[in-house]
Subunit: 832 residues, 2 copies
Amino acid sequence: MATATTEPNDLHNETNTWSVYTKTRSTINEQPLDNDELDKLTRYFHASMYLCLGMLYLKENPLLQEPLKKEHIKPRLLGHWGSDAGQSFTYIHFNRMIKKYDLDAFVISGPGHGAPGLISNFYLEGLYSEVYPNKSEDIEGLQKFFKQFSFPGGIGSHMTPETPGSIHEGGELGYSISHAFGAVFDHPHTIALTIVGDGESETGPLATSWHSNKFLNPITDGAVLPVLHLNGYKINNPTILARISEEELRSLMLGYGWTPYFVEGHDLESMHQAMAGTLEVCVQEILKYQKQARESGKVFRPKWPMIVLRSPKGWTAPREIEGHYLEGFWRAHQVPLPKVLTDPEQMKALETWMRGYGPDKLFTKEGKLIPELKELPPKGNKRMSANPITNGGVLRKPLRMPRFQDYGIKVDKPGSTHGPSMNIFAKLLRDIVKDNPTTFRVMGPDETESNKLGEIYKAGKKVWVNGYLPEDEDGGNLSPTGRVMEMLSEHTVEGWLEGYILSGRHGLINSYEPFIHIIDSMVNQHAKWIEKCLEVSWREAVSSLNILLTSTVWRQDHNGFTHQDPGFLDVMCNKSPEVVRIYLPPDANCLLSTMDHCFRSSNYVNVIVADKQGMHAQQSKSRSMLTPADHLQFLNMEDAITHCTKGIGVWQWASNDAGEEPDLVMAGCGDVSTQEALAATALLRHHLPELKIRFINVVDLFKLIQHGYHPHGLKDSEYTALFTSNKPVVFNFHSYPWLIHRLTYNRPGQEHMHVRGYKEKGNIDTPLELAIRNESDRYSLAMLAIDGLTKRLGNKGAATRQALLDERIRSMNYAYETGLDPEHYTDWKWPY
Amino acid sequence: MATATTEPNDLHNETNTWSVYTKTRSTINEQPLDNDELDKLTRYFHASMYLCLGMLYLKENPLLQEPLKKEHIKPRLLGHWGSDAGQSFTYIHFNRMIKKYDLDAFVISGPGHGAPGLISNFYLEGLYSEVYPNKSEDIEGLQKFFKQFSFPGGIGSHMTPETPGSIHEGGELGYSISHAFGAVFDHPHTIALTIVGDGESETGPLATSWHSNKFLNPITDGAVLPVLHLNGYKINNPTILARISEEELRSLMLGYGWTPYFVEGHDLESMHQAMAGTLEVCVQEILKYQKQARESGKVFRPKWPMIVLRSPKGWTAPREIEGHYLEGFWRAHQVPLPKVLTDPEQMKALETWMRGYGPDKLFTKEGKLIPELKELPPKGNKRMSANPITNGGVLRKPLRMPRFQDYGIKVDKPGSTHGPSMNIFAKLLRDIVKDNPTTFRVMGPDETESNKLGEIYKAGKKVWVNGYLPEDEDGGNLSPTGRVMEMLSEHTVEGWLEGYILSGRHGLINSYEPFIHIIDSMVNQHAKWIEKCLEVSWREAVSSLNILLTSTVWRQDHNGFTHQDPGFLDVMCNKSPEVVRIYLPPDANCLLSTMDHCFRSSNYVNVIVADKQGMHAQQSKSRSMLTPADHLQFLNMEDAITHCTKGIGVWQWASNDAGEEPDLVMAGCGDVSTQEALAATALLRHHLPELKIRFINVVDLFKLIQHGYHPHGLKDSEYTALFTSNKPVVFNFHSYPWLIHRLTYNRPGQEHMHVRGYKEKGNIDTPLELAIRNESDRYSLAMLAIDGLTKRLGNKGAATRQALLDERIRSMNYAYETGLDPEHYTDWKWPY
């Protein structure tokens, strides 16, 4: 075998040498700008670039009205220069379109680390000073505006919640396009100018989100105009899309269903012409497609325009500094002259560079942008920075909620009847969809039907703008005007939902429980966004992010080990208590009450865990496999509302402590887990009737944590009134058992708390066998209780324990022999 | 505005009606198969299809040698039929190529739920019976083979670890291509036949993994042949790629850098010809490109071939059942005739269908595949099911490890000198790269340089097969023969690494700590894979998955709140204790010792948390911002090895309890957190010298959990010998504090354990300010200690507490004024 050459010559990409920048190349050969407009755009752009450098470097002397000195410079230099110019350039040019076509638009900045490029614009157009009056449009305000950037007590280097005009921070990459689509769904007149960083374009979530165009209805939704900003480099590497040939890149975008337009170069004047001409073509196309669809009333999928903007990284910086490339190279990613404080040459270079933009000609002596430039951007809410969508709570109206009580299931006696909890909730959901036809959407990767929510389709089908077949009539439930959105990318559907609620609407995502981990990081980021919004006085509350987890671990016995992971709750519990809420309703009426509460709430991440099927989806004498097995129902509507309002409580009907101090507390949290805990209680009461057992159910998980750690946390006195401080507690938990110990760690009597849950013991199982493997089944729970009372129960306890153990072994053997669980398990009801 | 039409006619996609299947269409118009070969392929395929149905339905009567009765059928029907036929078809045809071209190949099944399609083949070619002798090639073995599928105690419906020939379960979608690439890197003679499900193709991780071709060296790496298997439907929806036009799909693949070949249809005979011809072209192209590169010694990026196979979902099933479409529709996704047990018509249909494949002519009466078909597949290790790559531990050789002690830093006195821990480790890493030139790779999203590991580039640069520019000479560190792999997709680099180690090699992934959450779910799945492998006797151990988390929460003060999330440890702690290991080495020598241990280990997921910089990357009198600030160093090499071997221990040099019972235990876990705990100890000893303090450092996190819950857990006696059972413990933890409570929940004295860590309080900060916000700084820790000893310390304690509080306030104010931390913080050393 030949040795591989390390000569890069064999791999030279002729298309993308620096020479690509030396001549402007563009798909559109027009010269729409006259000299006056060209000059103004250039000066406005320079004003923005000047502000960007000011944010990165200066704490004093904001307009360089005196020579630059060390004491004017921030002691710690932070921030990113790399994509500032390209983003600002794009923004300024889109301003021109807004004015010319009277557009309604806002901006999403994918490469969030280039925030100065946009924040500088928000300041220039006055919005920043309107929102933050002390960052006024004068020398003093400018000094504060500069200093606060990446400074303790100030604002970060992303498009953080403190930044008006932003619904997308860009701290984590990958979600710009899905957020943009989410924000324009049901906003038919809005265009989301969406800048995609070329680093971001390598991420999976972004890569697949290009396909969002197959879910956009040109009649009832707005439009997204992506600008793929190829500046060539990430932190320390070239980017993939910047180095493939233009032919490949064009194919890729065509393949994603977009019409790509290219604007490439370095020379500002010709780049202005190219960008102006190209944006105009794009806007005209968008308006044309919308008109065509809206006038004909016929939905089609246009090959929407998008722009590839290839401008050098760190554009308008010096090309070389001290023998190293700066403009057009990865060295321009962060602070381009990092040694200004210690290296007089760099200080000099910075001053020359900054003065090169001509701040004295762009701003008045008082620090105001000169009037002729001030005229350039749109006014009022036409400014992208001021679009109400970017403070979506302003637009938000409460959902029209049907009376959830009307959907309840009749429960005469607790634990004696079955009902399909999720199907019952689906009816409520159907009517929410019906009553809120333009402000509510349901998202899911591909599982809404599987999750027993198919009833929704009577009110709103699945959005599909990607070709129909005759077969689709046969239960396909597809429609271009649907209200349910499914794509097998948790990232994309979550991004859509986040964009949808951040822009003032409502929604729900439903997912198999295990695969919600795929978007751990997205939900983390959303929770962080919301938490910061709570600290920003002008941000109005947005709808909660409602995450319904179903097809849960205890009913993934048949899909196997890979489908068993209830650990999303652990991830969520680490987020801010001001933001996170977790509910595990045990039955249908509790699910209805919980969901009603969640849909009315705002500024939370609500996680609701409820399985789609009760006992067993197996064939037994009376049932066929595909009939969903129903849940055992515990509470009538009145009791359910009371219980859910409290969030935790004693189920007197299942207890026999008769208000006295019990011998044992049995607790359940989660539908399946509660049922097993009840069955364990019944076993104990059968075998050991003298035992006084108190039964507790937990709906609102944060009730368990100490008051002060979470707003829902019980006071210790309330907690011990339920759990006692000295009696053994057997707690059967839906998820990993340790989470309960984490939540109750400093509670009185914590040493008596014995928790069972899923502990990563699974394979291809039956439901009962799966529970047994994790010692979370009725027999194991009852045995655990006896173990905590050995002395008191004596020989009778030991005999009972043995009987339970025998029964557990018999159940396991039965499963191995038949593939089924015994009917006394699948048909179990509360016997008292 | 016009009302949107619900008429789907406007969206009809002419290309993709059912008619696409009625005539075979293919890029290649060849008829390479003669009638005899055609007939054999068809019968072999039918044998495979028969086995698939047998796995789904039968527990007895495996060859239908008697009429099908209810008692032959499994009582619970589980499994997936949808993609079985297409996968089997592809596999069988690639067998032909293996024989013709003497290829070395294995298969990855993206749509894992179609496992019967491949498992049936593994059985037919004899491998399954070799590995599992009781699943022999006779009636009895076949009966067991059928019954075990999706049956308790048996195998799941994916390509689980129990399945020989598999390194990719496919339980979670999205990783087929990245796993395939990982497995062929440095395996120049191997081809990974990689079946991508069209559901999977919608996921983000898969979408961006197509770009892996820009990182494959045709001289030193093997090849991946993707087969995008468009069967049209997910669980309940059409798939995006199945409904876009062929023109768009072709563009998409060209844009990703592949050469697509299309094979589409339904008629088996012509499909055989089309697939045979197309695969032959693909294999010839792969071999041609490899030859060209290898003979010339010049690396280039070929436009590698890939296949779009469009076959109906549920192919070879009846087209309609009971008035509903089955073949070619989403109803064929799972068990196609779900009511066979209760519906005699369905039972009849099943029997007719199964007999239609002609089992009596395919198998002998004894249940053996007839000899002329038995001749068809390759033999021995040429069978894809037997490729040693799929049991990578067989191929694995231990890393050549330099003596890590030689890289240590000299530490004369603990806590008095600084050193760049990560840069020191980078030198060890460099030499591991050098000494293991074809069996070790380092992966990272884009951060290896930022993470201070750039020293590696002296031994192996970054792999880049995607165009070079002159600028790359200026520190670009790119090479087609590199050993470091960076792409801004955590999913892709993690997938590569998993594929690389599962196929018998070694590696490391390094990432900023917060963004490792992006691959929570992937690592979960890998941990589950490894855990199951431990239960499979013939699976040889593979290298551990080593995850180095740096740029950690406490040094993300400047990047802000979005970059602060140390919660990956919580996710990992829920995985099986047999598999997961977590280390937080406090300094350079401990890091060296820990990494040495991890690289030598196997079958673990090792998570190592260590920051890339010590105090502060800020400008101070002596430092410029870009000089990485060094870590304080605590242990000389000998002590470090002892300490890391124990995993937890008292640091006598920092304690003043002189072997007696202390008044207070101070503990640190994590480099920055340990330093703050030490500084708190120093403050206490300064202000309250009479206080006897014991200082503990934890490297191996699972030492804290009770013995029995994890193999590393201390016995209670060992634990209390360190922490006591009744003295206050102040524990400063790197991550969220509750994890420590979860780990120590039932330890003696748990009620005296006070933990501090990150509690989601951050913004744009200084390091000390960030610690203070989370009460994890030296002042807050010392105050917490005093609070635990109020009675004992009396007035002096109160006065000290006030002094500490004042100092904390002064530090906060200093940060807000200057943007910096005080020098007594940044320059702090252990004063004793």
